[in-house]
Symmetry: C2
Subunit: 334 residues, 2 copies
C-alpha cells in the first residue's frame, strides 16, 4: 500500500533575502507498509521560524526538504508509544504525510490543559523554550534589573519579555511598529517600548534606562542591537538568540568597526549565542515553568495562522517582513 | 617633618592616541608624621599597563595623578603588617614617595623564591593573574582544544598562551613582528605564530586551525580579533581582556557592521569582557598556580625595564607602539 505526500524543497541556493522562488512543491509516493516501531503521521500545524533561513543556507542542498517542527496526528502506528489518533510533535519538515522511522524525530505533546494545541509550537513549544533558556540561563535577570528585548512583539521576544517581567524586572521592548509597541506595553505589561523605525534607540535607552541595561535578549542584530550593547551596565549579560537582520551577511568575514567589542571589554559584558537544543535534557522542567506562567496569567501569546499547505513559504517569508504579532503557524488541516 | 615626592599627572584630557604631552611632572610636600596604621613607602618598580589608557579617559580629570601598581619599600611604618624595609605591592600611582593611609592600597608581595622581584608586577603579578583568570575561568581550555591568543608576545598574552600550552592545547599566537613570532614558537613553545602585519590572518587560521578555534584570549580588538571570532568552532569561548587597538573609539556608539555578531549567534559563542579585580578573593590560589608553573619551567617571561622616574610616560607609550616582548616596567631605584 502507498499514499501520496507533498513537501516543500529548496529550489535554489539560499543566499541573500529569501523569496518564494527559493521553494518548490514536490509530491512523492510513501509506502504505508510500516515496520515495527514506525509511525505514519499527518501534519496538522507546521511552525515557521527565522532559524530556517540560516539553516537552509548552511546545511541544505538544492532539492532537500525544508526543516520544521509540526503538530501531527498519528494515522497508522506500529509503535505503542505513539498510538493511532494521538497528537505528536514531529520534527519532520515542510511536508504533509510522513513515515517516521527515527523516533528521535517524535516527541509527545506537552500537557496543554485548556490552552489551544497550536501553542505547542509557540509559547509552550520550542519558541517558548528558546525564550526561557536564553532569559533564565544567559540573561539571568534579578528583580529590579533593567532588561531589553528586541523583536519584543515577535514569537520568541514576547515570551522572553514576559518571563523577565514575571521576575520583577523593568522590561523595555524594541519593535518595528506602533501597533507592536502598543501591544507589548498595554496587553503584555512591559514598562516601555521603543519603535526602532521612528525612535532614536540610543536616546530612548538613555531616557528609559539611565543607569544602563543589565540584561539583553536579542533576536535581531544590527544597529538596534549595537545601540543596546553600547548602553549596557557593567557586568551585563546578553543572550543572542538570532540575528534576523544579518542573515544575508557572510559569516566568515568580519566587517569594519567593532565598537561593541570595546563595550564588551570596558563593561565586562557576557555576550552569548545559544541554541535551545543544548538544554534538551531539561526541557520538561522549562515546559512546566512556562505552563505555570500561562496558568497564572503572566504569559500570553498571539498567533498568526495561515491556512493550507500551499501557504507555508508565504508564512515563512512573513517572518522577515515584520508586522506580525506573536507566532506564525500554518494550519494544514483540522 | 616632611619630604618631597614626585608624581606624574594628566596634563590634558585623554582622547585619541596617548602622547607625552598628556603627562606633566609635579612635586609635592609630604608630611612624614605618620598616624597609627600608616606607612611611608618609596617606589622601586612601577608597572605600566594598557588599561591605564581607557581608565585615564573614563575616570581621571586633568591634574589627577596617573594610576599604577608599584613594588615599593617601606621607609617608615606605624603598621605592624608592613614593617620598615619590607617590600610591598602598592596601588598608589605614578609617584616616587607615598604616605599610605588606606591599607586597601597595599598588599604583601607574593612568595617569589629565586624569581626576580620585578616579576611581582609581571607574570607573578596582576599581569599574570589577568591571564590566568581569563584563560582558566572564561576560555576554559580542555586538553586538545585549539587556543588563539593575540598580543602573544606581550605581557599578558604570553602568560595566557603558556597556561593554555600547559593544559595540553594547541596554541596559536598572533603578534606584530617576526621577532615576536620567533620568540613565542621557539622559546615559549607555542605551536604556531601569525604575524598580523604580514600574514592573511584568516588564511593562516584556516591552515593552522582547520576545525576552528575553541578558545580565544584577546587583548587587541580590531580586524585580527574579528577574524578569529569568525573562525571559531561551535561553542567557543572568548575572553576579552583589552581592546588596545580600539582605545580611541567612542565607546557609546556602535559602528557599522557587526558580522562577528552573526558568528556569535550562529556558533553559539560566549564572548566575555572581564576584569581581574572580580576574582580578588581567590588571587592567592592563582598566584600559587602561576608560581608552580614557573617552578616547573612551563611559564617564562621577558621584561623590558626602563630606568628612572622621568621615563614612566615613555615606557607607557611604548605599550601602544608594539615591538616589546613581555612586560614593561620602570625601575625607579635599587
Amino acid at each position: 500500500m502507498s499514499t501520496r505526500s507533498q513537501k516543500w524543497v529548496l529550489a535554489k541556493t539560499m543566499k541573500g533575502s529569501a523569496t518564494l522562488t527559493h521553494f518548490r512543491l514536490e509530491e512523492e509516493d510513501l509506502s504505508t507498509d510500516l515496520q515495527d516501531g514506525e509511525v505514519l503521521c499527518e501534519a496538522i500545524y507546521i511552525s515557521v521560524d527565522p532559524y530556517m533561513r540560516p539553516y537552509a543556507e548552511r546545511s541544505l542542498t538544492v532539492g532537500s526538504m525544508m526543516m520544521a517542527e509540526q503538530i501531527a496526528r498519528v494515522l497508522q502506528s506500529k509503535n505503542p508509544r505513539f498510538p493511532v489518533d494521538s497528537l505528536v510533535l514531529a520534527n519532520v519538515g515542510w511536508r504533509t504525510l510522513t513515515r517516521v522511522s527515527d523516533m528521535k524525530s517524535l516527541r509527545q505533546l506537552p500537557i496543554m490543559g485548556d490552552v489551544p494545541v497550536s501553542n505547542a509550537l509557540g509559547m509552550l513549544g520550542l519558541t517558548g523554550l528558546t525564550a526561557y533558556y536564553g532569559m533564565t540561563h544567559i540573561c539571568k535577570p534579578r528583580a529590579g534589573d533593567v532588561v531589553v528585548v528586541t523583536s519584543a512583539g515577535g514569537a520568541v521576544g514576547s515570551v522572553a519579555a514576559q518571563i523577565a517581567k514575571a521576575t520583577g524586572c523593568k522590561v523595555i521592548g524594541i519593535c518595528g511598529s506602533d501597533e507592536k509597541c502598543h501591544w507589548i506595553t498595554h496587553d503584555l505589561g512591559l514598562d516601555a517600548a521603543i519603535n526602532y523605525k521612528t525612535d532614536d534607540v540610543t536616546a530612548k535607552l538613555q531616557e528609559t534606562a539611565p543607569n544602563g541595561v543589565n540584561c539583553f535578549f536579542d533576536n535581531v542584530g544590527g544597529d538596534s542591537a549595537g545601540a543596546v550593547i553600547c548602553h549596557m551596565a557593567v557586568g551585563g549579560r546578553a543572550a543572542l538568540c538570532g540575528a534576523i537582520s544579518l542573515y544575508s551577511d557572510d559569516i566568515h568575514r568580519p566587517s569594519q568597526g567593532l565598537s561593541i567589542y570595546r563595550a564588551i571589554v570596558a563593561k565586562q559584558l557576557t555576550v552569548q549565542g545559544f541554541n535551545v537544543l543544548n538544554w534538551f535534557s531539561s526541557w520538561h522542567e522549562a515546559y512546566r515553568a512556562l505552563y505555570d506562567l500561562v496558568l497564572e496569567g503572566k504569559l500570553r501569546g498571539k498567533e498568526l495562522i495561515y491556512e493550507g499547505f500551499d501557504k507555508v513559504p508565504e508564512a515563512f517569508l512573513k517572518l522577515f517582513q515584520g508586522g506580525n504579532l506573536g507566532k506564525i503557524i500554518v494550519k494544514i488541516r483540522d
